[in-house]
């Protein structure tokens, strides 16, 4: 009993340290964003909102933020669409070379982004003579997020009884109607997860964006270049705090949506 309690205490300590390691830096971010000091050091000098005011005035930063949001939204929708098709093919059809195709789709997850970035750059510029832009960044992000989306959606599609789809066909649905009336509502929580996951992945991806962005910078590139100028660091902290807040709101919203989807009562076919 004694040893058990001791064991438990050690585990608790580990858990606390682990959580602190994960979240203290993240929580310090908003704290320092209100600190009236250009250097990110203790002690706190005073409360200020001027870094947030700077943000409002910083048009380059806003452009970068807007670029990242555009790319992120486009990528999350595109990847989730392709992921849905791939997941359906993997779980619902007997296709030749299934395992091989699956492996090929998953491969970008383990190829270093540097390799993908360089090779894509060479192909786009030398091979196809395509100008670099947010489109090329988005395309590379689709490449790396389709596997994530497919994984999430395969898990979801395998999670429900196949005969549900058969039942809808049996009750008169065409293949498309069956997809819309049964598959889609049941896969919806997975689609929401996939959209969020792909958006987040694209939103803070640096390396591919660095290789493939043209004149328009995405947010990670802008932030990284700002770090060279100490005077801009507080702006970045303020921006980080805002993004953190939006992320929390998004995740809470997604969770709420998911729970509503599970026990919901207002979805209707009539």
């Amino acid at each position: 009993m004694e040893s058990l309690r001791k064991h438990f205490n050690l585990l608790s300590l580990f858990a606390v340290l682990y959580l602190a390691f994960l979240y203290v830096p993240v929580l310090l971010l908003p704290l320092f964003s209100f600190n009236d000091n250009i250097y990110v050091t203790l002690p706190f000098k005073g409360f200020t909102l001027k870094w947030y005011e700077n943000l409002m005035a910083n048009s380059a930063l806003q452009a970068a933020l807007w670029a990242s949001v555009k790319v992120g939204v486009g990528v999350s929708i595109g990847s989730t669409f392709f992921g849905l098709l791939a997941a359906r093919a993997m779980t619902r059809y007997r296709i030749p070379f299934r395992r091989g195709i699956y492996a090929l789709i998953m491969l970008p997850l383990v190829i270093p982004y540097m390799v993908i970035g360089v090779s894509t750059l060479v192909i786009l510029r030398r091979g196809l003579d395509v100008d670099l832009s947010l489109w090329t960044v988005g395309a590379s992000h689709v490449l790396i997020t389709v596997p994530l989306s497919m994984l999430v959606l395969i898990a979801r599609m395998e999670g429900f009884d196949r005969s549900l789809e058969e039942a809808s066909r049996d009750l008169g649905d065409s293949a498309w109607q069956s997809f819309r009336r049964v598959t889609l509502p049941l896969v919806m929580p997975g689609i929401v997860s996939s959209l969020l996951l792909c958006f987040i992945t694209s939103f803070d991806e640096y390396l591919l964006a660095f290789f493939l962005a043209g004149s328009e910078a995405t947010l990670p590139i802008f932030i990284f270049s700002s770090l060279r100028f100490p005077s801009k660091i507080p702006d970045v902290l303020a921006l980080g705090s805002l993004i953190l807040m939006v992320s929390i709101v998004l995740v809470v919203f997604a969770e709420w949506l998911r729970r509503r989807g599970v026990s919901g009562s207002d979805s209707s076919v009539l």
Binding site: E166, V182, G264, S265, S267, L270
Partner: protein, 364 residues
């Protein structure tokens, strides 16, 4: 048979050299309660799914009400299915589940609501229309699946082991309900099960399947009394087998030598000829066991008691009659208060007798 509701024309489902269903050809009459019975993996579910359009046959065709189905998808067939897992849509409530198929038929809201109410009433689920699948019991889910299919007014209702997931008592109740429902609706039912008792008590006719083959199609009584092969005889109920050789056929009765010098007689079947090896099959309840050598019986086999058990309404007896053969099981009705208690003691000498017509002659 009048014009059949279902007509299978050499329907096969092959995967390479393996035949899940091997050239099934038979007809099912309108309004018939027809069962596909067999052990798991015998192809019964595959056959049902081909009729419903969920699997494509690799050969042959299926006619429903005279129309060739070819490779038509399920939504273009006059069939509806009750799935083994019930497949109640979890994102819809019970009423919406039942309305699902009606929406596809372009009915207006008022008549859909009316039909749904009637269907709920039919399966005694009135008042539960706005519940969800996870808020009702297994038996209720089963009835929702049934109502959802029947409300579409199919010509043929396909049922894939619909009672398999229910406990024994509920299953027996549902069997009665199912039979009554089928009688009152007059819809052709095709019922897949591996439970022989269920098939025997429900069906007008039963197709017994094994390894993709349809072995025999008959009424319950005919399957039990006149199985056409050893497999059917062994699958439906219990059966004793005596292997031997036909020595003579006279007056419709065949004599089979089951041991050197020992003969039993059995009604001859078409095509049986002296000299062939054959099997005589006898049901346990058709054999009598007595402690003294009987006089004037058709068939007599002497043996020794191996084990006996008293089951209230009847007693079971296992008897050895010959070294190296399976023991014979005998089921004795306990009509009198005391049966020959002697024959239940181990190693007691006893005689097994049965009339000629109790035996069935099977090809070996």
């Amino acid at each position: 048979m009048a014009a059949p509701m279902i007509s299978l024309k050499s329907v096969s489902k092959r995967f390479g050299t393996f035949a899940a269903v091997d050239s099934a050809s038979f007809d099912i009459a309108p309004g018939e309660f027809f069962s596909l019975l067999g052990p798991s993996g015998c192809g019964k579910t595959t056959l049902l799914r081909m009729i419903g359009g969920f699997e494509r046959q690799t050969e042959g065709d299926i006619l429903i009400d005279g129309e060739a189905m070819g490779i038509r998808p399920p939504n273009q067939r006059p069939t509806n299915m009750v799935f083994q897992s019930y497949a109640i849509f979890p994102h819809l409530d019970i009423a919406e589940n039942i309305a699902y198929g009606l929406i596809n038929r372009g009915l207006d809201k008022a008549s859909i609501a009316k039909k749904v109410a009637q269907a709920l009433d039919m399966v005694r689920l009135s008042g539960l229309g706005n519940r969800r699948a996870n808020q009702i019991s297994g038996g209720q889910r089963q009835r929702v699946a049934l109502a959802r299919a029947i409300v579409c007014e199919p010509k043929v209702l396909l049922l894939d082991e619909p009672l398999g997931a229910l406990d024994k008592k509920l299953r027996e109740e549902m069997q009665i309900e199912l039979r009554q429902l089928q009688k009152s609706l007059g819809i052709t039912f095709i019922f897949v099960t591996h439970d022989q008792e269920e098939a025997l008590s429900l069906s007008d006719r039963i197709a017994v399947m094994a390894r993709g083959q349809v072995l025999q199609i008959d009424t319950a009584a005919a399957l039990y009394e006149r199985p056409n092969c050893r497999e059917v005889a062994g699958f439906i109920g219990n059966m004793n087998f005596f292997e031997g050789r036909i020595v003579s056929i006279a007056g419709g009765v065949a004599a089979i030598e089951i041991a050197p010098g020992q003969h039993v007689r059995v009604p001859a079947t078409n095509g049986a000829a002296p000299g062939e090896t054959a099997i005589v099959a006898v049901r346990p309840e058709k054999i009598d066991a007595v402690a003294t050598a009987p006089q004037g019986s058709d068939n007599v086999v002497s043996g020794r008691a191996l084990a006996g058990s008293y089951l209230g309404d009847r007693s079971l007896l296992l008897a050895d009659w010959r070294e190296g053969t399976a023991p014979i099981s005998v089921s004795l009705q306990n009509r009198r208060s005391a049966v020959d208690a002697d024959i239940f003691t181990k190693d007691a000498e006893l005689w097994l007798t049965w009339p000629i017509e109790a035996g069935v002659l099977l090809k070996n």
